[in-house]
Subunit: 366 residues, 2 copies
DNA sequence: GTTAGCACTCGATGTATTGGAGTGCTAACA
DNA sequence: TGTTAGCACTCCAATACATCGAGTGCTAAC
């Protein structure tokens, strides 16, 4: 059967109405809603066809119809086409400037949640290059060394090494020089066994330190590429606004998914893997289209943002299938713009970083 | 009216029964449950008294009774007394060793949640001393400096400074020396205006660097004492196990509270402020006793843990008022033991730290 | 002081009944 | 041939009503 223009209009009307009300929509409603001037009976025939084609679904006999995943997909595709051709209304977000990346992300994800009334997530930007840029060893006291490793993209990692034997300033200086000359500009892949044993030889007795520095480098690089992606979420409570997500079992599953960031990471990895999208960089997962089983009652809309220098991450909005896709996509665009804006004007104070507590065991009082 | 021994026993029986079933308990149940050999009628009379005294409450006429906050309080107090006199069964937790404090905390909070079936939280240990221990400036390139500040307790913070004017190695060395000799061993309070202008004078043209280092110090110290406490939670989905917390509005409020770490921080601050507890370090907030309005249907049990060196934090368990206080307190003790254990045996690899991404604006490609 | 007995309350549960929104189908119409 | 009016039918949601049972308070007897 062919999807005539009229059928298309009716389908759109059904979807739009359902987005608003969340209730199944009947033929009579459409008959008045649209400007097609058709009787409800005609609409009924068309709806019957649409159902047969799989665009809409009847929750039970003698209820109205609701869109199927396939129906939503058609609708969203149309939206996307429309969107890309039109210039997105610039409307930057007020992001409070701060030096800590973490703060910015939390702010953004929160803003987005309150603006859209959906649940939101954002992944910290990760850097693809991963070349070692700078290594600094500092002598804290005769048995402790502070290691700081900076890799391209200005990701900083530090570590305190407890030494088995004491070390003096001169030795530290030498090691610094050695490590920097040998390792700068290399990626983890470049640092092979031959190189390592080579360096160890030159380092003489300070093998332990070299080992540790290499571990630290390995850690910083791994942390940025791997599984344990940093993800922030906000507005989890918004799921209770939508009855279709708010019942006990569904809500519980969703809350669990939000807590298990690894599930969210699946969406982000999927988004990042797929570079074939039209250009807006916005991707929509409707229901079962997504990679996460327990979120099959939701739609997820994601977008990648780019801070320049190859530093990029993903923003996502999680809501019911009947979410306001148009609004959501618009908001995602706004956020992308705003983040760009922020980092373009941030030239002056363009550092953001920091670190964490580290407890020192009872053995290390000096 | 006096709380006779018999009334006490009946009250206990009511509470214990209610903890198990979650349903109002009637006189007949108690009449059989206890070994008092009293008829339901007698129990009824006693229950009537207990209600008048405010220990129990009737949800509606002709339902059984449920404990009031006051009733729980009596019960918990008795529990605590009993607990402290008895040696807590040592039963350490399997904590997977890792170098990152964050990982350990996440592990602990998660373990605790799955063990207890309640929602859990843990605050990162914070250090009370806050003396500057070591400052390291490194020249990344002629316009960028890396600042690393270590304070006692080995909390590390770093920062990249973009300079208005170029700087050479020699100048960096001088600044390093200057800052270390002047600031080491001082707390934030010690660093007054006089000292600052003094240092700035000595620093000559590099006022900007001095300012930034001071900012960084201020930030690291503030971050550890202040509001923005790091708190991890787990097992949010567990609230759906308890019907009295699982209805839409309550669940939504709770989820919000868990997301708004600031509310949880209120509990932690309260716990830490109160050093007058019996010695177990365990504190129980029943319903409205807690500082957070939106959690008045919950009980929260907290305990402080101590990693030595004055580094301490708080663990908390959030559940319905009818939570299994005994189990919860026992588990908290176990976790305390385990954390102690972990850091006692961690002497060799006693560092834990790390850091974060920092994007570099498009202006800083070199 | 304790207990048996009884009337009473009130939520929870189950069962009809009804109303309305919606459908599918058929026959008539343009 | 496409459109529409009409009608029988379905099914959910809401309402009302009856019933059950757990629990209470009170009184009178032990």
């Amino acid at each position: 059967m062919e999807l005539t223009d009229r059928k298309r209009k009716i389908l759109n009307a059904i979807i739009r109405n359902y987005l608003e009300t969340g209730e199944p929509v009947g033929s009579r409603t459409i008959s008045r809603y649209t400007d097609l001037n058709l009787s409800s009976a005609t609409i009924r025939n068309e709806m019957s066809d649409l159902e047969e084609m799989g665009y809409i679904v009847q929750p039970h006999t003698s209820a109205g119809r609701i869109p199927s995943d396939k129906g939503y997909r058609l609708y969203v595709n149309a939206l996307v086409e429309e969107k890309t051709s039109q210039v997105s209304a610039m409307n930057t977000l007020m992001i409070y400037k701060t030096n800590r990346m973490e703060e910015i992300l939390k702010q953004v994800v929160r803003l987005l949640a309150t603006r859209t009334n959906y649940t939101t997530m954002i992944s910290a930007p990760s850097y693809k290059g991963n070349k070692v840029k700078f290594i600094q060893l500092s002598r804290l006291n005769e048995r402790q060394l502070l290691t700081v490793v900076v890799i391209e993209g200005n990701i900083i990692k530090n570590h305190i090494i407890d030494l088995d034997e004491s070390i003096n300033e001169e030795q530290v200086l030498k090691l610094n020089l050695l490590l920097n000359t040998r390792l700068n500009g290399l990626t983890l892949a470049d640092i092979n066994l031959g190189l390592i044993s080579n360096i160890k030889e030159e380092a003489g007795i300070h093998v332990q330190v070299v080992n540790d520095v290499l571990d630290t480098i390995a850690e910083v690089i791994r942390a940025e590429t791997d599984e344990n992606m940093e993800i922030y979420t906000s507005g989890a409570n918004n799921i209770f606004r939508y009855p279709e997500l708010a019942d006990k079992s569904r809500a519980s599953q969703l809350i669990t998914a939000l807590e298990e960031k690894s599930l969210l990471a699946d969406f982000i990895k999927d988004t990042e893997a797929d570079e074939t999208d039209p250009g807006t960089g916005i991707k929509v997962y409707i229901g079962e289209e997504g990679p996460v089983e327990s979120m099959k009652d939701c739609s997820v809309v994601t977008a990648t943002y780019d801070l320049g220098d190859g530093l990029q991450g993903t923003i996502g909005i999680i809501g019911p299938k009947r979410m306001d896709y148009e609004k959501v996509m618009h908001n995602l665009n706004t956020v992308k713009e705003s983040l760009n804006e922020l980092f373009r004007t941030k030239k002056v104070t363009d550092e953001v970083t920091d670190d964490e507590v580290m407890p020192s065991g009872p053995g290390s009082q000096t």
